[in-house]
Symmetry: C2
Subunit: 326 residues, 2 copies
């Protein structure tokens, strides 16, 4: 019923010329873009206003950047090299001007930061919320899957966890948010370079990005690999904002189930990472922490020094609306 006005808008967004890079044979402007590479990795991630973001919490640039980061994080999780993105926007009439331009600007900046070109997309009016679907495109000749974890592997995570979840909780409670927690929510950084560094050295056997929270995402690794994952609570790298604003148990819970930190969780053969951890930290200036190990069985468990397993207590995180986990 409505093809047409969208074209004017998308044309404003899309570069006229193909990006000059050997992996983009044809850029935006035709019916399809065409990319080349040895194994093209693809993933789509949709962000909807009122579900994934609220406009009173973020600038339009942040809304766009965050949507792009969430999508690009899936390329990181495979250790793929980003090529480009396709962006579909459904825009409320009132936002079709400057707001839409800012959303696209935020998307483009985050994409450019990891070397991804704008390849195409679609723009349409929305009679409801702002919605952004980002499809990411990368090259992954040697992808690191979720299924590669082996019994005996160590479990590592990049960065510090729980900041994003803390911000959501603070906002919903009407509290003044912690500045550093806000940054974690508003401007997550897809760990693309970090993942490629790890994969390039053969250090990551199985990998996933932390969108649901460590508890939930480790469960995905565990299920895909057919192993149990044992986490040591005292090793979990809790974001400083969370340590400051939440008590011990609560902080730990936020760190493993707060979600949307977009850090990496991966498994590495025992003893191997330790030799590379300092070089990683020096290269990327973010923490890198061994948080547990892979064992026989299934599921994700807390473990103590004696190796006793205890239920994690929470299986991930759900809605800001509070269906399950607040």
């Amino acid at each position: 019923m409505a093809r047409g006005p969208e074209f004017d808008l998308i044309r404003r967004f899309l570069p006229r010329q193909s990006p000059e890079r050997p992996d983009v044979r044809l850029g935006p402007g035709d019916d399809c873009a065409i990319v080349v590479g040895d194994g093209i990795a693809l993933s789509a991630d949709m962000s909807v206003e009122g579900v994934h973001f609220r406009r009173d919490w973020l600038s339009f640039q942040e809304i766009g950047g965050r949507a792009a980061a969430a999508a690009l994080s899936d390329l990181a999780a495979m250790a793929a090299r980003p090529i480009g993105i396709l962006v579909s926007l459904a825009i409320p009439e009132a936002d079709a001007g400057e707001a839409a331009v800012e959303v696209m600007d935020g998307i483009r900046r985050v994409a450019a930061d990891v070397g991804a070109a704008l390849l195409g997309g679609d723009t349409t009016r929305s009679p409801g919320p702002l919605a952004i679907d980002v499809t990411v495109v990368g090259e992954a000749p040697n992808p690191v899957p979720r299924s590669g974890a082996a019994v005996g592997d160590e479990v590592w995570v990049t960065g510090e966890l729980g900041g994003s979840g803390l911000f959501v909780r603070q906002m919903l409670a009407g509290e003044r948010p912690s500045r550093r927690a806000r940054e974690r929510f508003a401007a997550p950084v897809p760990r693309v370079a970090e993942a490629r560094w790890l994969a390039g050295r053969g250090l990551a056997r199985a990998m996933i990005d932390l969108s649901d929270g460590l508890a939930g995402d480790a469960a995905h690794l565990s299920a895909a690999s057919g192993v149990a994952i044992l986490l040591a609570p005292e090793l979990i790298p809790i974001h400083p904002s969370v340590r400051r604003h939440a008590r011990r148990d609560d902080a730990l819970r936020l760190a493993i189930s707060g979600g949307e930190d977009y850090e990496l969780c991966f498994t590495a053969p025992i003893g191997l990472m330790e030799q590379h951890a300092e070089a990683f930290r020096a290269a990327f200036r973010i923490p890198l922490t061994c948080v547990g190990r892979v064992s026989g069985g299934d599921g994700v468990w807390w473990t103590d020094a004696e190796g006793h397993r205890q239920p994690l207590g929470t299986s991930g995180y759900q809605h800001f609306g509070g269906e399950r986990d607040g």
Copy 2:
């Protein structure tokens, strides 16, 4: 704020195992799918309730199938061989059960008809309308671009035009819709096999799919190729439902500006197509019609037997809400 519940829904939709085909190295279930091919063609198309479809006009299966067809039509336009699709759904709470399953079923059927596997996607709650973004993935070692039209070429279209536009008009006027017009709107067929047949024989030099209507899409061809396109009004293949329900001038207007017919428009070297047209019609059982020719200059024009140019009068079609063209 909300990663989580969507996983349960998308898991219901996605096959557990990778499709067994050499062009899909990794199917759904990991952070990315991975495809291989010589030139991967990509396009995204978003369908939003109240803008692109209305639920009182279509079944949920048709809503899904139509969204998939619109997206896959862009692969046809490049003469790409479909590999797969990624589907992002934003679903109103009340539709998260059977309705969503039917939407996905409609998508999957149309995709399967052209050999496209379900590679992944995203599912989320929508606080507003149902929205479907379909990213299509194909192999296009020798894509047919919009920019290949040469002066002297003939302009051809597949099928018959205007049926989809007639249905929209009838529905908006509260008339009982023509059954055949409804079919054109509700179940468009992406001309994937037809496009590959034409491209495989070196017959199509420039190609586009008719989503905006012939007037608008020929203008895209014209602009991309830097040529004028001259259309002969008496040659335009008007859909029978349109011939029956509209007067001559009005019928012609619907045929060139009704939009969403998802037929192909392509240019071919002069005299070449005529030798292949019968074989095409026999193979696909749809009309194939020469509607004009490519000339020097720019824009899209009506032309008569003497070659006089007249303005087309309407430059495409816009909204069911009637911004420009009703």
